[in-house]
Amino acid sequence: MKNTIDHSTAAATFNKDVERVNWHDETLWFVRSKRDKSAHAIPEWEALRETASNIKNNVLSNMHTYLQEFEANALKNGIVVHWAADGDEHNKIVHSIIAKHGVTQMVKSKSMLTEECHLNEYLADNGVEVIDSDLGEFIVQLRKEPPSHIVLPAIHLKKEDVSDTFNEHLGTEKGNNDPQYLTEAARKELRDTFLTRKVALTGVNFAVAETGEFVVCTNEGNADMGAHLADVHIACMGFEKLIPQRKHLGVFLRLLARSATGQPITTFSSHFKKPREGQEMHIVIVDNGRSTQLGREDFRNSLKCIRCGACMNTCPVYRRSGGHSYHNAVAGPIGSILAPNLDMKKNADLPFASTLCGSCTNVCPVKIDIHDQLYKWRQVLVKEGYTPSSKTMAMKGMSAVLANPSVFKIAGKAGRFVMKNLPFMVNNNLNAWYKQREMPAPPEESFREWYAKKAKESKDKK
């Protein structure tokens, strides 16, 4: 297991190339602006968000019933249903299906769940080659990188980077940065993959309990290309992907693409209900910490997430630190409230990688109180002992002085306690404030000194 580099260190590295950071920030802000335009064009937008939130709350409160209903209906449709308690079991199930068919190659459309479970590495270790067919995923896979964004996996890369990558792996012309040329090259490569793979894996955006069907949303049609040409279709889903009825799709499909990219709807919203003649269809339903999260009252509603990525696009910290600095399959604000549930120690830095500005909560199409959960995770992580002891000491000293006005006054007179102990002064030895900022200049008298003087003057006059 590689050592995790904490968010602030990774972000500092990312910021060494100022032009690239500016470009990253502006590109994602452009996506956020498109989202605004599209959301603001729908008068009932806020009502839609509220409805989606209510539907998902209902699902979270009745998970058991809906899961059973979904399984029963999926079985009736002729789908094989598997249950995986964790990522490892998920990977083993997927591998066993592939092995049963005696193949060593698989095509996969975008699935953040398989990233979360590290399926590609597992299959590679077991001699199965996986090709990611989403263009962004295909690019990062060639570079042996994880996706940096759940909707835009290669958003950290410029077309020049893609050109270099394709030159190295696909033999495209060196220095040809024309997006159409590069996309064409990927298309040719992937077409062959689609035609020759016997097994295709897709994610799931929505699973309908009422009908046992599932819906996969893509812009490239790559999920359909994979699934329709393969003999075996494996669909993997976290159990929170459920919605009760087909009619609820209308709410979510309207919200998903508008929130994600500002499109009215994804180019393809593919409904899969049953295997076609001669095909095998599997669904793997994964827990991997979700029932633990469901049991955490303050954090359960993070499971409402439909993975649109709007919170990332709007997050001023994400835009300036890049997805990889979050060292988690899901980055950004939503990743920062999901990741500590999986591993508190490893992800203790993430809830602190935020100014708590609250923009994430406002764009969330299912109204997850993301910034409030970031605040609450901080409290949990401190109590569980995952913050540096030097910080705890400083905070204890600070709270003792601030709780006692007479000590505060003495400390204030003796050297202006506040000046030395304000958040930006703590760790003064590193002087992180002063590196790129001037200190505020201390005035001749504090407000309270001025006030006391005034009070005395008016008393003397009387």
């Binding site: 729908i42 910080k391 992180a432």
Partner: protein
């Protein structure tokens, strides 16, 4: 109307002129204002760092200082929001509840309680408004750009009749400046980059001043502006509103 003036600890120590402007402004509108001398800090620096369990002492002291007032007014959206959302007292929860319900940020106190429509004043400059996120998204002092909802702005409304003041329209109207409490040192690189970008937006609109309701954001921006040797200055909104 008895008003307790709650001055954030860093404003008390670094920016006394904001305390003075707030006090004078409230007095102009007929409030009986006093500043309880034993106030220290609302406890937000600890709470936002994950140490909310260490703020009980601050809470007790806050309640002791402010329970006798009809209203508690503060020239900071951030500190106000912390008190409104998190102040509790084991010994005197009734008093803590009274405070939570009657604590106001300065501009919302003027527009919502005193029903001030606009303020006369003189400030002949181009000004950019940088609202703190806690003031804007927390206290809803103005409409948030993410929502599909009717626009309004309490601070803008108050600035409307200030003579000579030209309020510019920023490209990113409510982007965070990157201060974020301890975030400003624990995530120094990103914090500074956010501040620089926020300033850039103001520069592109040729402002003379950046104003807002929270001096913590402005202190961070001021630190960067001074390092850049920029001519742009920061000024708390209370100082503009108290300009005559």
């Amino acid at each position: 109307m008895k008003v307790g003036l709650f001055i954030p600890c860093y404003v008390d120590q670094f920016y006394p002129q904001i305390g003075i402007a707030s006090l004078e402004l409230l007095q102009k509108f007929g409030c009986d204002v006093s500043f309880p001398m034993d106030q220290t800090c609302c406890g937000q620096p600890m709470a936002n760092s994950g140490y909310a369990h260490l703020t009980k002492g601050c809470d007790t002291n806050f309640v002791a200082n402010f329970s006798e007032f009809d209203y508690i007014v503060c020239p900071s959206g951030s500190c106000t929001m912390h008190v409104k959302e998190h102040l509790h007292s084991k010994e005197n929860e009734a008093a803590a509840t009274h405070i939570r319900k009657h604590v106001y940020e300065l501009t919302e106190f003027l527009t919502d309680v005193l029903k001030v429509e606009s303020i006369e004043g003189n400030f002949p400059y181009r000004v950019g408004m940088h609202q703190s996120c806690h003031g804007q998204r927390g206290l809803k002092l103005s409409q948030m750009s993410e929502l599909n909802a009717a626009p309004f702005s309490k601070p803008d409304q108050l600035l409307r009749n200030i003579k000579g003041l030209e309020l510019v329209s920023l490209s990113r109207k409510d982007e965070c400046c990157g201060f974020g409490g301890t975030f400003c040192v624990t995530e120094e690189t990103v914090s500074v980059k956010m501040g620089q970008d926020r300033i850039e937006d103001h520069k592109e609109h040729h402002v003379d001043y950046i104003t807002g309701g929270d001096m913590s954001c402005l202190m961070h921006l001021e630190g960067i502006l001074r390092r850049q040797k920029s001519n742009i200055k920061v000024i708390h909104i209370a100082e503009i509103l108290n300009s005559i």
